[in-house]
Symmetry: C2
Subunit: 220 residues, 2 copies
DNA sequence: GAATGAATTAATCAAATGTTTAATTATTTT
DNA sequence: AAAATAATTAAACATTTGATTAATTCATTC
């Protein structure tokens, strides 16, 4: 029944090494990524993806079989990309704890200024999908078994920072860097900020947050 | 055409003063609230609301005319409720700046432990709907013209805290209190936390966040 | 207690939406 | 160049889904 689709799948496997992003399959994925990121799975129409790609609706199922399968691919790639951008920092054995904080905040904020829809997309869809995705990308080990976390625990032991649950630390770091992007419509509304104003504030935070985090770690 | 519905609306206006939450209209709203909060507008099916209410689907339209109108009511009430819980604190002229911080954090976290779906719901739907909602509930004035903000600016002038954009302060406060709830699936997954573990961490944060915020305000 | 209006339901509609089919065009293979 | 395979499209299908209609039950009023 799906013989020709299987073949298409094979074509993809072959082509993906040689053909650039302008292949039909990549064009569909790019359009799908944009729309899924902006509207989420439930509010996205396959017809809209096809229209934005500039192809016939049937081609979407020809290449990806279903909306769900296409979504799963986009979701996985998105989470991998999100993780990739900080993976290196977390396990760099050569940099100090303080330097890692700065590097992580800088990486996150740069990424989010460029792609501000990603965090709300991930958090919304992660709630529907269970945590099998978290397992699939191995986020847990990358973060919780990282050199970064080891350094945190050592600093606690050495009495350099207050003894709090490591998760509080992770939450504070993520909160201050990521939340403003999740809440940007509200923040821009409340503060009467333009997109440019907002991005300027976020750029300021690249230097402010590390400072704040260090102050807060020593508190009390 | 909708004569009987108009009448139903009138009935509601009359009844709402005397009839308890067990009226059909309230039962529909309660079910709608639960499902909208959990799945958002796009993923919610009117049939699911009807089923959860235990009524015939047609009654939903009889009372509320459309899914959108029902949603608008829930959305407005949700935002008002969310705001209501901190409105008083913000403009209490009798309490200190530090006390307000503690009160706000406590109010927020108590509310979110009880209704953890609310922030992601609001932030997701606020992105679709423009900011006309923000205007409708007058959030801007309550927050930005508050006694709380005045106290912040005075403390900056007096040199008691570092001179940062007030929006940074608001973002930090909201981030640290609200973001963990928005990201709870990820946080619980990463930290291998049960719901109980998570709630305990959040309860700890009621005392930790005010401490952190104060430390961070003086940083550098 | 008949009459009137409100509340509720079963059934149906119409549009939206994900998916498939069958045919056509383009490309590759022999 | 013919044959075979892949890519693409127009059209249609089958469900889903929000909404409506027409009838029925329930409650209130006179």
């Amino acid at each position: 029944m799906f013989a020709y689709i299987t073949t298409a799948g094979q074509m993809k496997a072959n082509k993906s090494l040689t053909v650039p992003d302008s292949s039909t399959e990549e064009k569909i994925k790019n359009a799908a990524r944009r729309i899924f990121h902006k509207k989420g799975f439930a509010a996205t129409r396959t017809r809209d993806i096809a229209a934005e790609t500039g192809i016939n609706l049937a081609l979407l199922n020809y290449y990806f079989r279903s909306k769900q399968k296409l979504f799963d691919i986009i979701m996985l790639e998105t989470m991998q990309g999100f993780l990739q951008s900080i993976k290196g920092v977390f396990n760099d054995e050569l940099t100090s704890f303080d330097h890692k904080i700065t590097a992580i905040v800088n990486n996150y904020i740069d990424l989010l200024i460029a792609q501000p829809d990603i965090p709300l997309f991930i958090l919304s869809e992660l709630k529907t999908n269970p945590q099998d995705l978290l397992g699939k990308i191995g986020m847990k080990d990358i973060l919780m078994k990282s050199h970064f976390l080891k350094q945190f625990k050592e600093a606690v032991k050495a009495g350099k920072i207050a003894p709090i649950h490591p998760m509080h630390f992770i939450m504070n770091l993520m909160s201050m860097a990521v939340f403003p992007f999740v809440a940007s419509p509200m923040i821009m509304g409340l503060g009467e900020l333009s997109q440019k104003d907002f991005n300027e504030l976020m750029t300021q935070r690249k230097v402010l947050i590390p400072k704040w985090i260090k102050a807060l770690l020593k508190a009390k």
